[in-house]
Amino acid sequence: MIAALLLLPLCGGLAAFCLPSDRFRPLLLPVCGLGHLVLTFFVIQGGQVASLPLAGNWIGVDPFSRLILLIVSLLFCGCSVYALGYLRYRIAWGNRIFVSCLLLFLSAMSLAAVARHLGLLWVAVEATTVASAPLIYYNRNRLSIEATWKYLILCSVGIALAMLGILFVAYASLAGGAHVSLQFDDILHGAANYSKPWLRAGFVFLLVGFGTKAGFAPLHTWKPDAYGEAPGLVGALLAGGLTSVAFLALLRTLQIMDAAGDGAMAREAFLAMGLVSLAFAAVFVIRQPDFKRLLAYSSVEHMGILAIGVAVGGVATFGAMLHLMNNALTKGVLFLSAGNIHRRFASKRVGEVQGALTLVPVSASLFLLGFLAITGSPPFGPFISEFTILRGIFTGGHYLTGGLFLFFLAVIFIGMGSTVLSVVFGKPLERKGDTNYRETIMTTGTPLIMLLIILLLGLYLPESGRKLFADAAALLEVKP
């Protein structure tokens, strides 16, 4: 089952590369996306820790994997339908590389979700970098080259640092006289005996390496460029899928530190990273003239919220797990609708884009509602998860953190609000918005459904869903 989950998009990607027709090739996306989603449901229904017999115990499914798989699969499935509409509009540009890379990207993200060997996890995360770089370059202009180059170099170097961190963890086991293995269960089992200095050094490198990929400030510099220049649907997959996968790698790191009895130090580092990310986001969101870059800073902010949630622990951990899902789907709504607005106006600068509500009414409403959702307004899902994290902060007695958290969130709400409102409302400028793009159900249906899901998550969390998040949170609550 897990093998099928990995091989389906991989074969899809290869098939897409071989298929000659630009018109029919995109159809592979929803086929693989839906198939992946169905398989994901089967895998989630499976036993407690399922593993793949062929690969020893390098691949297996634990509650984190289930959560991340579900997030990635839902998001990709939605984006694949949207891609049909988008690629039909861009038919002249060709899509062989784009479709193949999208599917390989999905395969790499799934592999990262189920990897139970640090080396394999690294390989998968690096594969997401190289598979997604051509996606960012799809618009083929100077700005997108610049964004692609920055993304490629920064993330590759970041990931190389993570590899160094992994080697340090292995050295910690060697120096601690334990069995040298990077298999995840072996590490968790033996971590208590590892040499502390090497383990801590390894943690720092892993935090910086995977943190670059997740986009914590001040390692986030590739984010605004990549999200700003990539097509909307790639932005959605990066902000919702890739960052979640990178965050999963960080959660694994935290698990190791917990097992070694050094969780407190790791959590302090997470808390610091989280607060710095919130502060950076708050500073750059204000008067941001480009609404796609605005979303990138929002992504930095939400990575910060996730880190704080995990760092504080207790009920906030549950909030963070829930927030992973909410953040990914809301980012999907925002990026997909922002992509529609961008195409209609052929610009993404505030001042040139005004009155989107009159020209692209559905996308503009979705963008507005997505903004309300991501900034934590009730009744959407992110409100519940952010509120849960906040409750965790205050019950944990971290009053200063709580105060800063609320302050930054308020600043970001105001900063984002002024940009979003001026994009959505007002009167369109003359001669702007005369592109031939028109909204269709293909490009507005997906974000609408995603919005409905986060609305549902805000109003009612079914028992099976609650269990999914609670199981994942429980992995971080094991106190040695």
Binding site: V123, Y137, N141, A160
Partner: protein, 214 residues
Amino acid sequence: MDNYNPANLLLLLVILFNFFLLGSSRLNACIRTVAIQGGILSLLPLFIHGFSGHSLFLAGGAFLLKGLAIPFLLLRAIRQVHIRREMEPLIGYVPTLLLGTLATAGAFIFSDRLPLIEAHRGSLFIPVGLATLATGFLMLITRRKAITQALGYLIFENGVFIFGMLLAEAMPLMVEAGVLLDLLVAVFVMGIVMHQINREFSSMNTGQLSSLRE
């Protein structure tokens, strides 16, 4: 220490190549040097772990990729774009060489203080690994051409590889292969992007990649 002798000689060569890379402005020579450095590193597993299947595979794979395939891709990239020299580094060659020397000296002093296990005490692997990491970082920071930045990344990866030599038993073959394959594909994609940079900007200076900023 004694049974590491041939390996130690290779590691000292690696350090010499680090200095050459920091001081040279000819891109062609730089790429070839990185290739030789990669080729030398690929011999290390044979010296430390003997002629087992694992080390033969690792040595062969690393030699093919680091010594042949990746340099070939990069040489092709610069042939297409007709550049020979790195003209204006952000920091001059002599200052970077000095910084490189300081970093190497620092690496040797620092690794004396590390809590290493008995077998690795006094071994050259750790200081040379650290020095190579520092060289890669210096290249990444001080050079402006896309190709020299890619070289910096490769040198950095070489540093990680040296460190990984000490821990070969932790990395199963499949993972090792995956790591090398990822590296190859990453350089392949970088080569394509470099080509595009050159086509759009008619130079490969990343200094021109500065429109995206706040």
